[in-house]
Subunit: 350 residues, 3 copies
């Protein structure tokens, strides 16, 4: 928070009840984790697993869904602690990053054929190209690029230096982060006379409502068919969605995860950091692709949970021994087979 507020006022705002009415006079001015909060901070018990930390917290007030008898700090009990946290942090966030004023900055460039809905803002240095249609309340931040014929729904945010290329279709409240590129041509080539010849990529990109595209994340347009991200898909930074892929609702890609062309990921699936799904592969809904796992040769069924078998970090002396053994694994196997025969022969003799 950028301002100080008495705990009593906080209780009114969030509709909660104080364990200790005297705490109403306490002034808090910051939000901190339970174990780091001091008497001038507030802290949230937003997940029951942190109950012990909440009991020990030195915060000026702990906001919780349950009473916390024995807590060192005063407790503000609310009906929905997560909801209260989202509300309060959202308020602080909006104070720090206020919505820009509607309107087109004099140093922005909006093509005369573009259509801007009510309340749209276009920041300094931003470019909205020919035929683009921006839904009400959409914010094109400074130096963002919105290509020809792009359409967006309402209240989208295109951050500074984000790139949305020609004809991409965005739903409502889509967020494209700085450095993201949406609608780049897919990487498809034919070999002709010893050269790589690009196959023109004529598909599009569709980002449905609430989709979020992280910084440095690329979403390629389809070769023939559209690349589609359904409602609520969230892409972290440094991810890649290749041409013609289809991501079901709420799919989440964590940092550096990626997929080859025409891959399909079912709804509510997680791809953890640095994981990959190969070209044309299908992953069923509700699956988890573990960190660094590469789904290259086999599909993953619904509810699947796959892991990488070898990534990790081991002390370097030990790691070198394991590496060496791994390199000699076929020989070890041969040795074991030979031993099996010898032992079988010995047992027969007995």
């Amino acid at each position: 928070m950028d301002q100080e507020i008495p705990v009593g006022m906080l209780a009114q705002l969030l509709g909660g009840k104080l364990s200790d009415p005297a705490a109403a006079e306490t002034i808090v001015g910051g939000v901190q984790p339970l174990d780091k909060a001091g008497p001038k901070d507030l802290a949230f018990l937003w997940d029951p697993k942190y109950r012990e930390a909440a009991l020990q917290s030195q915060a000026g007030v702990v906001i919780s869904q349950e009473a916390l008898p024995g807590a060192k700090a005063p407790v503000l009990v609310v009906a929905d602690a997560q909801g209260a946290m989202l509300t309060l942090l959202g308020e602080v966030y909006r104070q720090r990053h206020p919505d820009p004023e509607p309107g087109v900055h004099p140093q922005a460039s909006v093509d005369p054929s573009a259509e801007l809905g009510e309340g749209v803002s276009v920041g300094a240095g931003a470019v909205v190209d020919a035929g683009a249609k921006l839904g009400a309340g959409t914010r094109v931040m400074p130096l963002a690029y919105v290509g020809r014929g792009v359409t967006t729904g309402e209240r989208c945010v295109i951050h500074p230096h984000a790139t949305v290329l020609d004809h991409c279709v965005l739903g409502n409240r889509v967020i494209v982060w700085s450095g993201a590129v949406v609608g780049k041509d897919g990487f498809g080539y034919l070999q002709r006379e010893g050269r790589h010849i690009r196959i023109p990529q004529i598909g599009g990109v569709r980002l449905d409502d609430f989709v979020e595209v992280g910084a440095m994340t690329t979403v390629a347009r389809g070769a023939l068919e559209d690349t589609v991200l359904e409602v609520g898909v969230k892409l972290d930074d440094h991810c890649h969605v290749a041409h013609g892929s289809h991501l079901g609702e709420n799919v989440m890609l964590i940092g550096y995860s990626r997929m080859g062309g025409s891959a399909t990921i079912g709804r509510d699936t997680y791809m953890l950091q640095d994981s990959a799904v190969g070209q044309g592969r299908t992953v069923g809904k509700n699956s988890i692709i573990g960190s660094a796992a590469k789904v290259l040769y086999k599909d993953v069924p619904e509810g699947g949970k796959v892991m990488d078998i070898a990534s990790g970090a081991v002390g370097h002396v030990r790691a070198k021994r394991i590496q060496l053994c791994l390199q000699k694994l076929p020989e070890l196997r041969t040795q074991v087979r030979k031993l099996e025969k010898q032992v079988a022969a010995l047992r027969e003799q007995d």
Copy 2:
């Protein structure tokens, strides 16, 4: 295609012959894969391996190099099906993404000392810096940056938010995608008095004809010598070419592949996704560096084919077992050696 066209006209355009003359009246308006095309689409049999799919296709017309007796759809036989596909998709692509008008947009910034060839276009918000020389027909798209003293050949495309830094030299028809950075200083440091001191990187970058640099891909300038990408090199998205590396003709880097400084890759070599070549390493021509393979300690000879040994995705219960065994591999090896001695002793006794 953004317009509908009778199959007969298509036959004339592409110079082919229809299996069923009656099909000339059919109107098609889209291009789809063989297995997804409907009666209003056309589809290509561009690779003989899809012959069965072509026979079963429901397309309005299948364009093929060979007659397809028994095919469910009318067939348009052409001399070069791939060529026809490239022609037709190229036409559709150009309709959707028409070349910008030549000239400098009033909201672009072109330094007075820059030289623009005939037909060059510079889009809104783009910057062409001092002393840059752009060859005829080159397109600097909106918000692209062309640095001081950069020279390009003819018909290059610098996409929105692409960055070509000072003094890089581009050949003809080079494409730099949105978010790419060409000519950043290489990452070279000396340790002096407990600090990392940057070694000034005085080399350049040379991208020869037909080179393509993907979104989020970085090509660093050399420390002393130039970083060179020869004719026809294609870099996918999220790749990295480090300072002083040399890539031979037609080398292809697939997503997230990368190399350390002063690496050399021979012509026609492929680096598959997430592969790496370490500092100073050499990879011979016509090689394949498999997905996730890391060439760190040994060069790869001409025609080499190397793979990673451990990446993959395995069901998580089984994966944990394998991980555990892998961690204990040195002990397993010791056990086997002990067994060998014991069995040898037993066999001697017999």
Copy 3:
């Protein structure tokens, strides 16, 4: 160098002594590695391990800290060869990439509420947003973005297409490369009613003196606490520092290395290429996280040295055999255990 210079003048400039006074007349015009330099180049013996290459070098002059009796080239002996190299390369670099003139380019956009220190330059198309404060001599290069309320120390460089988002705090001589994004919201969500709901990220980012952020590298703002990079941290390209992480002095991240939220890395630690440190993990000072190593489940103590156990590149036939054995490792272990029992029984009988 962009100009030719007699070796004698070089000796005066660098304060050194020529092994062969006659060499003072030699004209050199380029800097090359010892093994590639010709008679018109100079070369540095900047690390004693290249002594043999220095002896054999064909350079016009070799600059060295020690006399090199028997060297084929004339030798210029200086008190500090690395220092001489940094000086000379720095001079060449400044000739090629001269500092821009102070002042605001007419096609830049600087918000009236921003404060620019003495000698600040803001290039064409750059945007400095409301309330930003730029220290003396800071250069905002063309098309760079400096967000609302950002503060920088003196002599920072924000390269073309770099993005520094709202309220980030930069020390002196911080460098942010093209395509980098500093201050993006961290990737934190709650699951509510089957949707991913973003947790507003109210922390900031602090980059201390001499920090360098590579191209395509992301530094996320903290959830509650600031993300902090202490003095001298150097981030290569394609790296990621997640929300609330803390990097001690001089930490170096090499290409594609990355960390989860709230990770802590002690001073002088190196994360080699493609390495990762998981959420909340701690790595002690003076550690080395090897290439591709993933520190996910265990902290690393001070001076730790950890490696990945399985990454590499092996001929593909052999690699497939190893992969197969690896998949069957639990069975191999079972076989060995069975053999142990059988052999023990046999030995007992004897």
